[in-house]
Symmetry: C2
Subunit: 339 residues, 2 copies
């Protein structure tokens, strides 16, 4: 049985209603809605069909119907009309983002707050992947006997630092010359490129080979620890505003996921390109089967390196969340690229 025009209409009306009320929707409610010119009895027949097709669930016999994951999937893929942000709102978000200074972590933290405020759902932002950032400068700074701090400055100004051991007999001039060489050779290349030039750099380091080896090894390690890119959460208590989380047990589970940066990273990194990606209910695995996760990516230069998204109940306001995410994705890309 294929879905005809009317079934689409009714399903859409049910979803719209349920998204705003969170209460099972009955046939009378839909019948009364403008745009649907059928009696409750007719609606009931259609609803019965829709249930059989897996688009609706019935909590119990005498309750209304509730949209299933499958219904939301259909909704976001075909039914939904994506809303637009008012220019007012765009401006408000834009202004706030601009005011957050230039430091990358401040931008990310600010974006998480804006996102949670604008959507009223919990927001998550994953910082840029290290490997895609371009090197501006590498500097070895002596900090103690035989120890130096290696500082990597990238196009985002992000400073990655690590302690390295300096072999005996090297003074700060040696450190300086190695720094110079690294910077000259690697400037404007993405951090990942360090790997490719590894042996070449080592060869040309001449009498500072041990230090160069140590330095490269530490960079390599930083790159490998890339899976530990920062994850920032905003509005973690927002979910508790929704009746589906009135149960403390559910709230606890949800908060536990927010505490696990690894799980969050995995949830956020499923989208491919720049377009908004939506995962509904069970698609998010057993931990989050009553949530939806909507994600987008942002660029730095021409590389998509980070992700931003929101987590909310499956009945979330998709057609509002999507334009907000799109706008924020662009805003962040701009803010992080022009520098």
């Amino acid at each position: 049985m294929p879905l005809d025009e009317r079934k689409f209409l009714i399903l859409q009306a049910i979803i719209d209603d349920y998204i705003t009320t969170a209460m099972p929707v009955g046939s009378r409610t839909i019948s009364r809605k403008s745009g649907v010119g059928f009696s409750p009895a007719t609606i009931r027949n259609e609803m019965s069909d829709l249930e059989e097709l897996g688009y609706l669930d019935q909590p119990h016999t005498s309750a209304g119907r509730v949209p299933s994951d499958k219904a939301y999937r259909l909704y976001v893929d075909h039914l939904m009309k994506v809303g637009k942000l008012s220019s007012d709102e765009r401006e408000r978000i834009h202004d706030y983002m601009q005011s957050r200074g230039a430091q990358v972590d401040a931008v990310i933290r600010g974006a998480a707050t804006v996102l949670a405020d604008a959507t009223q759902y919990t927001s998550v932002i994953v910082a840029p992947k290290l490997g895609t950032l371009r090197i501006r400068h590498i500097q070895l700074v002596p900090v103690a006997e035989e120890t130096a701090l290696m500082i990597i400055v990238t196009n985002l100004g992000i400073v990655k630092d690590a302690l390295i051991r300096v072999p005996d007999g090297l003074d700060s001039d040696d450190l300086y010359s190695i720094s110079r060489m690294l910077t000259e050779r690697l400037a404007d290349k993405p951090l990942e490129a360090v790997r490719q030039t590894f042996s070449e750099l080592l060869r040309d380091a001449e009498n500072n080979r041990r230090l160069m080896g140590e330095t490269l090894r530490v960079i390599e390690k930083k790159l490998e620890a890339e899976d530990s890119t920062e994850v920032v959460v905003g509005g973690s208590s927002k979910l508790l505003n929704y009746p589906e989380y009135a149960d403390v047990e559910k709230a606890k589970n949800f908060l536990a996921v927010l505490e696990s940066k690894d799980k969050l990273r995995a949830l956020m990194n499923r989208g491919g390109g720049m377009e908004v990606t939506i995962h509904i209910g069970a698609e998010n695995g057993p931990d989050m089967s009553d949530c939806s996760v909507v994600t987008a990516r942002y660029r730095v230069g021409d590389q998509t390196t980070g992700a931003l998204g929101i987590i909310g109940p499956t009945r979330m306001n998709y057609n509002r969340v999507i334009p907000v995410l799109e706008f924020m994705s662009r805003a962040m890309s701009e803010l992080l690229t022009n520098r």
Copy 2:
């Protein structure tokens, strides 16, 4: 009416019981306890007195009694016997802390997790105050036309960075020499000392006065923004395990406080010296009037610069929390000082 021996005994028994059960305590329960050789009727008389004195509350006529803030205050100040950590436990915590690498933020994050795990309450850790850290190195790194990144390396390896504008006509050699001068003059001084040497440094900068001025101004600004030292929260969902937070509304309020870093900083920074400080119920202000906050400080070198603490229900297990905090405070001080 002063508290006699027996009243102390009974109050202590009530508090002990309430801490473990979270249920109002009746006279029979106390009477049955070993160590108290009185009938329920006698206990009732005493309880009635204790209520009149403000140490006990009665949720309703036919319920047992519940300790008041005043009772907990008396308890932690005079009644409580502070527990000891088993050497097993010390070792476990110690090992975990050691394994967290040397990066300060990793240490802090790790400590927050350990603290929450060991106590089963929500933990909060405030990063070291900038001003108290000693300067190891200051470096200006060119990143673009007329822009440089100023990097401050301290004894904790913490890198504070900020973009500064470079006046026309200065090349990287000029930046290098300023860096050298700043490092020589300021090395081993606390960051705050920059203020005192301000004019002196400016005078001696000779033909690079504008750059020096700009640099010092930026450092000044970083110091003033000191109130924004990082705050890390661990185990934010732990509180939901306690029956007093079964009410979603309360949970929401609590989580809202955890999201406000400013409020958390204020809560954590009330302790003076190194000893453990306890604030009970209403002492924490209206937002947190049903929580207790227990804090300690940690040192870097001989300066107390950061705070750590836990937040839990007023009926928290004080005599376990205190030794854990004491131990963690020492462990962190050691870990951050020996480097």
